[in-house]
Structures are given as structure tokens and as C-alpha cells.
């Protein structure tokens, strides 16, 4: 379907620079997800790709053609909006066929495509209804249907599921994954939701302050975050980070040291450990000591929040719920030294096994 390439794309509103130079290549049929904190420019970047905003600099290419100066209609993309943005005065059928009528397709072809999309999305019973007579989930499906019928070169989604309740969101997430497999279309998707990002994406783009922090597969980002921001943004609960410094074959952290097999790089300033990579031990037998602050039992997992002097509260994930941990209990914490993340003073990741 389509390869989308952004090179040096910038966007300013007035004097405020929002997108500060984005280079990104989105492969044919790839499912790419933009994540980042609120205000990081995810929607703006998506709207730039759609042609709904003009770039302030840089180029956008679709299948090798420079579309930077073309309007949204000429880019042949479809977009699904957060609010669905259905046409309120039109029926479901008219909502889906509007774009095709604008493109002056023959009536028979319009009907064929609309009926096919309605079948995929199970919208047949509602085709004659107006949007206000539909539930949130049905409206969402109409919005997706409207995107499908145009047979676009790529789909753009801006937080399409954020207005649905939790159960429906899971259903629609699965639907969108199926749709992606079925259409094999390029999809660019903005979300706040960790689970959506991790489960749907071939490739996640982490944005912060209008700058790409890292691009990679979900597991790459999880296993090898390029910097502190990505390390703490991807993963839930988030990664524990402690101030650290190198000392021979060990890393010194508040309240103790972590012994390694090989000497750590000298420039490290932070040590990161995911909740599942810390083990609770009897006091004095781990790398550092702390006191249990809060225990959360989720059934399959238990999260222990352990207060460590000078290091704050560390989160520890323990599998199962019968863990024999009580609030205020003193405990030791041992780090899985194979899975530590090290960062320098600038927050950039440092390979643990540096020469």
C-alpha cells in the first residue's frame, strides 16, 4: 500500500515550535504507533501527515512522491478521529459513501464498497440510522467504515478508542488488529494507552516535546530503551530509577551496592530496574534494604512498594498473590544484574557490558 517518509519535518504555531525536526520512515503495511505524554505533538504529527496542517519545514513523502504541499484530498489517506466526527445530518450509509461521492465513483461501486465495509464491521442493521441514534461503539465502527471504503493508501487514527469504556476498548482493539491483518494496510495510530501500543504496534514511536525519543518494536523499547524518558514511559508499572555511580566491579546506589560480573562503565549516573527484575529477600541479604510501604494484590501479580532511604519508593512485581509480605515489614531487595539498565548523566542509555 504505502510507504510514508518524513524528513526534517517541523511545525510551529506562531512562534511556538511544536514539532522540532522529525525524521521517520513508515514501511508498507506497517502498524506504527505514536506514544508520548499529553502535548508532545502526537496529534500534530498525525495531522501533518494527513495534510490537515501545513508543515513549517521539511518534507513528507508518500510512496516516494513529495506531498508536502498537497491538500488532504490528494494524499488519499483516511483518518479516524478521536470524537469520530461523523456527519450528524447524514445516515450511516451516507456517512460512509460521502467521500466516494465526492470522488465521483459510479453508484454501483459505491454501494459495493459500502456494503462490504458494513459487513466487515457488522453495521448492516444500522445503515439507515443517523449517528445520534447509535451507541459509542457503533459510532466508532462507522468512523472506521468511512475510512475503509475509500481504500486509502494508509490509515491514520487519532486515539480512536479513548472514548470507549474499558470492555469495548478491548474488543475494538482486537477488531483493529484483525482489520490490519486483513487489509495489510499501512496504519499510523496515536494512543495514550500502553496496552494498545504494545499489542498493536509493529513499531512504536516515542515522542516527547516534539522530538522523537526512540523508534523500535515494542519489545526493543521495553528491553533496550535508548534513554531514561523511554525507559520510564514504556512499561507499567514504570521502571525504577536510582541515582548510581560506578565503583570498580560494583555500582553504588543509595543504601548499598550492586555487584556485577564485569566492571560497569565509569560514566553511569542512573540505574534502572523493571519491577519484575527485583527480588525481595530477607533484610540484609539483598543489594539494598527498605521497608514495605504498600502492597497491591491483583491476583496474578502482587506489587510491593518498598521505601528505600534516599532512593524513594521502588516497585517490585512478585508473581502470584501468596507472597507473605506485610506492610511496614523490613525487606532486602536484590537486582537481577542481567537486566539492569544504565544511563549516563544526560539520561542516555549506556550498554552494561561496555569494554
Amino acid at each position: 500500500m504505502a510507504v510514508i517518509t518524513l524528513s526534517g519535518v517541523t511545525k510551529s504555531f506562531g512562534s511556538v515550535s511544536i514539532i522540532k525536526g522529525v525524521d521517520l520512515s513508515i514501511g508498507d503495511g506497517e502498524f506504527v504507533i505514536f506514544v508520548g505524554p499529553s502535548g508532545s505533538g502526537k496529534s500534530t504529527l498525525l495531522r501533518l501527515i494527513a495534510g490537515l496542517e501545513e508543515t513549517s519545514g521539511g518534507h513528507i513523502l508518500i510512496d516516494g512522491t513529495d506531498v508536502t504541499d498537497r491538500g488532504p484530498a490528494e494524499r488519499a489517506l483516511s483518518m479516524v478521529f478521536q470524537s469520530y466526527a461523523l456527519y450528524p445530518t447524514k445516515t450511516v450509509r451516507q456517512n460512509m459513501s460521502f467521500g466516494l461521492e465526492v470522488a465521483r465513483l459510479p453508484r454501483a461501486e459505491i454501494d459495493r464498497r459500502v456494503d462490504a465495509a458494513a459487513a466487515i464491521l457488522k453495521l448492516e442493521p444500522y445503515m439507515a440510522r443517523k449517528p445520534r441514534a447509535l451507541s459509542g461503539g457503533q459510532r466508532q465502527r462507522v468512523a472506521i467504515g468511512r475510512a475503509i471504503v475509500r481504500e486509502p493508501v494508509a490509515f491514520l487514527f487519532d486515539e480512536p478508542l479513548s472514548n470507549l469504556d474499558a470492555a469495548l476498548r478491548v474488543d475494538m482493539r482486537v477488531e483493529i488488529a484483525k482489520l490490519h491483518r486483513r487489509l495489510a494496510a499501512t496504519m499510523v495510530y496515536v494512543t495514550h494507552d500502553q496496552v494498545e501500543a504494545m499489542t498493536l504496534a509493529d513499531k512504536i514511536v516515542v515522542l516527547d516535546g516534539g522530538v522523537i525519543q526512540q523508534v523500535g518494536s515494542p519489545m526493543e523499547l521495553y528491553e533496550r530503551p535508548a534513554n531514561l524518558f523511554v525507559a520510564q514511559f514504556i512499561g507499567s508499572p514504570k521502571m525504577n530509577v536510582l541515582p548510581a555511580s560506578a565503583d570498580g566491579r560494583a555500582i553504588i546506589v543509595p543504601g548499598g551496592k550492586v555487584r556485577l560480573a564485569a566492571p560497569p562503565p565509569a560514566m553511569i549516573a542512573h540505574l534502572g530496574a523493571r519491577p519484575e527484575n527485583i527480588v525481595v529477600t530477607p533484610p540484609g541479604q539483598g543489594d539494598i534494604d527498605g521497608r514495605v510501604d504498600v502492597v497491591e494484590r491483583l491476583g496474578s501479580d502482587t506489587f510491593a512498594y518498598v521505601a528505600v532511604p534516599d532512593a524513594g519508593v521502588l516497585t517490585v512485581r512478585i508473581v502470584g498473590n501468596d507472597v507473605g509480605i506485610a506492610i511496614d515489614q523490613p525487606v532486602g531487595l536484590a537486582f537481577d544484574t542481567q537486566r539492569l539498565h544504565l544511563f549516563d548523566t544526560r539520561g542516555q542509555a549506556v550498554p552494561a557490558a561496555a569494554a
Partner: protein, 293 residues
């Protein structure tokens, strides 16, 4: 309903409700009495008009005769005036609503250089009474040779700054940016989006602007008085005023105050009718369901 700590049952609420109701009643009476006077006066003979109590009907019900007089005096010129007023008001209102729609939509949904300044000008224009512009308009129309033509009344009425202001506010409320963006992604041009996707959402606002412009043009007096010079171009307002003047001086022969009153009554009816017709456009909530409620 009620403000917190000021519930429906509280003495304070009841007291303030009574005060408000009383004020509104005074206002209602103040508005209705002149209209009621017009109604009673147009059913009287000229003698009864001055000889009986003004706010009630006299024994001699003379409405039919007054109406016959109204439509026959001076070869039925009143009908001509009524037609003129209707034509001026309708074209002015349609045009004013059209331009208010386009301007308000642009102010609401587009960014362009000078937007704030232009809108400040629109707001400023709301403050300027049309009367103040009549003399410059007269000079202008005399230069371009439009005096005593319908355009001399219609063209100035197309400029309706309150309508632009109202439409801007209405468009901002009724049309979400995402619907417009969805239309753009679907490939529709801006005019197509306006006419095909958002126009029907704007009907209540448009109806409001239409009726306001219609009433303003219907009641317009000073402008046509100045720019129209022959009786066959007059609207009802100017015609009746001239009849009234002749009745006062007694120079009009059979022109009587009762006929002027009957004329006033007849000239109010179409406005009331227009309100009733436009009412069906004020059933808002059309956009419900377009975006997440």
C-alpha cells in the same frame, strides 16, 4: 433547579421569583398596550377614535370599512407599499443571512491575517446606528445613480454586523473542527463542506439572523425616507408616515387616522407570520451524535 443554597422552596427563591415575574409583567404590559391600541383603533370610526376610551372597542365596529378604505385610497397604493416592504425585507434578509453565514463561518473556522482586526471592525459596526450612515449613503447612491431604486434600500441592508457576530458564535458552537477535517480528508472542498456537511447544522442560527434582518428591514424607515422619492417605491413605513402627516394637517381629504391605524395593524401581521414560520428552525440539537456526547 436553583442556585446552591437557594432552592425552589426557600423564601428567598420565592421572593426573587415574584419580583422577577412582576418586572416581566410590567414589561409585557408596556409592550402589549400600544399593540392593543392599534387593534382597537383600527376597528373604530374616526369620530369614535377620539370620542371613546382608547383601550377598548366602541359599539360601532368599523374594521371592515377601514380595511376597504386602506386598500382603495389613492388607487390602492397601500398594497403597492406592502409589496415593496415585503420585497425589500425578504431580499435584504436572505442576502444578510447569506453574507452573515459566510463571514461568521470564516471568522469561526479559518485563521487568516487580520482576523482580529476585521472582527473588531464588525463589532464596532454593531454599535453604529444605521441612521448615522443614511446621509453618506444618500450621497453615494446619488453619485452612482441608484437613488429611488430598490437597490438603494436593499444594498445597505445586506450589511448586518449583528448577524455576522451571531453566526460566528453559532458556528463555533454547532460545528466541530473535526467534522470539517473529516470532510477535508474525504476530499470535499471548503464550499462543499459548508453546503453539504455543516449547513443544516446551522439552520437555527441562520433562521435567527434571517428573522432579525427581516424585521430590521421591515421596520426600516429613515433610509427609504431619504433615498426614495416617488410614492410607488415607498415601503409601508414611509407611506404610512406620510399619510399620518396628511391626516394630522387635515390636508388629505378622506385620509383618516383610522386608516393609518388599520395600515399599521396590517403591516404587523406579516412579521408575526414570519416568526411563526421560522419557529420550526429553532428546534436545536441537530448536531447531537456527531461527536461523542
Amino acid at each position: 433547579m436553583g442556585i446552591v443554597g437557594n432552592t425552589v422552596r426557600s423564601a428567598r427563591f420565592r421572593r426573587s421569583r415574584w419580583v422577577l415575574t412582576a418586572i416581566l409583567c410590567v414589561y409585557l404590559v408596556y409592550t402589549l398596550i400600544p399593540i392593543f391600541y392599534v387593534v382597537t383603533a383600527s376597528t373604530k370610526t374616526n369620530a369614535d377614535l377620539f370620542g371613546t376610551f382608547g383601550l377598548w372597542f366602541s359599539d360601532d365596529f368599523h374594521l371592515r370599512e377601514n380595511l376597504v378604505d386602506l386598500f382603495t385610497i389613492q388607487d390602492g397604493i397601500f398594497l403597492r407599499w406592502l409589496g415593496n416592504t415585503f420585497f425589500y425585507a425578504l431580499t435584504s434578509a436572505i442576502g444578510a443571512a447569506f453574507f452573515a453565514l459566510l463571514a461568521g463561518y470564516a471568522f469561526a473556522k479559518y485563521d487568516f491575517a487580520g482576523k482580529r482586526l476585521l472582527f473588531a471592525l464588525v463589532l464596532g459596526a454593531v454599535m453604529i446606528p444605521q441612521t448615522a450612515l443614511v446621509i453618506p449613503l444618500y450621497l453615494l447612491f446619488s453619485k452612482v445613480g441608484l437613488l429611488n431604486t430598490p437597490l438603494a434600500v436593499i444594498l445597505p441592508s445586506l450589511v448586518f454586523p449583528p448577524g455576522v457576530f451571531l453566526m460566528r458564535v453559532y458556528v463555533e458552537e454547532a460545528v466541530s473542527d473535526e467534522i470539517i477535517d473529516a470532510g477535508r480528508v474525504d476530499g470535499a472542498g471548503e464550499l462543499h463542506i459548508l453546503s453539504g456537511l455543516t449547513f443544516r447544522l446551522l439552520m437555527p442560527g441562520l433562521a435567527t439572523v434571517f428573522i432579525l434582518a427581516f424585521v430590521a428591514a421591515w421596520n426600516n424607515y429613515f433610509l427609504p425616507l431619504v433615498v426614495m422619492s416617488t410614492s410607488d417605491q415607498f415601503p409601508v413605513t414611509v407611506g404610512l408616515a406620510i399619510w399620518y402627516a396628511s391626516a394630522t394637517t387635515g390636508s388629505g381629504g378622506n385620509l383618516l387616522f383610522t386608516v393609518v391605524m388599520a395600515g399599521s395593524l396590517v403591516s404587523i401581521l406579516p412579521v408575526i407570520l414570519a416568526f411563526l414560520i421560522m419557529q420550526r428552525f429553532w428546534q436545536g440539537g441537530l448536531s447531537a451524535g456527531s461527536v461523542k456526547a
